[in-house]
Symmetry: C3
Subunit: 159 residues, 3 copies
């Protein structure tokens, strides 16, 4: 496999499925396939065992670089869930859209660079032609469970 081979080459591992505290009911699916579309839920960064990474606001609790790393970690979480749903990461023929929300301290306007952590990893795995896609980014006042970023989107699958 192309993408999985690149992950290995880069020394990266996909995290376990999301593990939230037992008090949280998970009323969503991480990925759902509708025809040749795979729709991706809002994801945050995860540790290898599936528990959430450290939360906080970029620009106060966390540096922009830590935000970039959180977005990169979110990319791995997305890929893990995508693999569990569609079987083979090489089925992705195009990234369709990405929407990234950054938990932002007042005055922080560097959201684009933070979400680059997500995009840069996808580009290193899929190449620019497949991975570069329409993207919107925004600062959020608060994010669920104080996640530093939440990223959702959609990919097109080979039919």
């Amino acid at each position: 496999m192309h993408v999985e081979a690149k992950l290995t080459e880069l020394g990266l591992e996909l995290p376990e499925p999301m593990r939230l505290p037992a008090s949280v009911s998970v009323r969503w699916r991480q990925v759902k396939v509708i025809g040749d579309r795979a729709v991706i839920a809002g994801h945050g960064p995860r540790q290898p065992d599936g528990t959430p990474s450290r939360g906080g606001k970029i620009g106060s609790d966390l540096t922009p670089d830590a935000g970039y790393e959180a977005a990169r970690s979110t990319a791995l979480a997305v890929l893990g869930d995508l693999k569990r749903e569609v079987g083979d990461l090489d089925r992705v023929v195009a990234w369709v859209r990405v929407f990234g929300l950054v938990n932002s301290a007042p005055g922080f306007v560097g959201q684009a660079r933070v979400i680059d952590g997500f995009t840069d990893l996808m580009v290193s795995l899929y190449g620019e032609e497949i991975a570069i896609c329409p993207r919107a980014v925004a600062g959020a006042a608060e994010l669920p469970f104080n996640s530093p970023v939440i990223i959702e989107g959609e990919v097109a699958l080979a039919s």
Copy 2:
């Protein structure tokens, strides 16, 4: 009808079409069908006569439980508009995506539980297989007309 029968069983009624002050021009459609996709505009909670429910921020003006109820009320508003557009709520074969914005007081991070009010109602009507879908939630600094939640999304229709 399956879904309408369940609504009756649960003692629920769909609200009237949205009624905003005459000063507001409504420059959007609540639901638009494109092929087998029905795209749903951002909705807020409505009273039975279509006027907006009480506004405010969750975590200060309104409790998280009131936020949950607002999201549940929003689900009824969505179903009312969906029925008016597609005729029969049983035409929905899958929820494709849900994006929920929660008008959040500083420090409030319980957005997921608030939007569960929307999802839980959809599950009680459509079942988990159809209703559980990729979802993203975020806290918004401010929402239009001070709405406590705004929820948009997409469903797939039987062709």
Copy 3:
């Protein structure tokens, strides 16, 4: 051409491609065509030469009317990028969805009217049947590069 003729009639010109400071890596595409869908990235207002318009929050730095103008300017930026990608603006047969984020000062709840600046221009070019579509609007705590609005969306193309 219908839409381009109307632009000329209205005395409007589409701006140049986005021009950000050299320090910003642009890790997204403004428009991507997937089958008969054209997916549109988050756009902000642009000056004719492609550089960003004045930033700021609506309700403090900028008036609601300036926000409306920013959303109208954003519509022109979107049309410029759409034209570069699909060749002919008349290929748009339906606006599918619009999501507008408004950089909002605390207490500002007039987001819908701001985003009307985008919708009103699209209606004057495409007419209500094509241009009016599901729309969601929200206030953002902060937006990238302090943009006053960010608008993303999707259109359907003639096949």
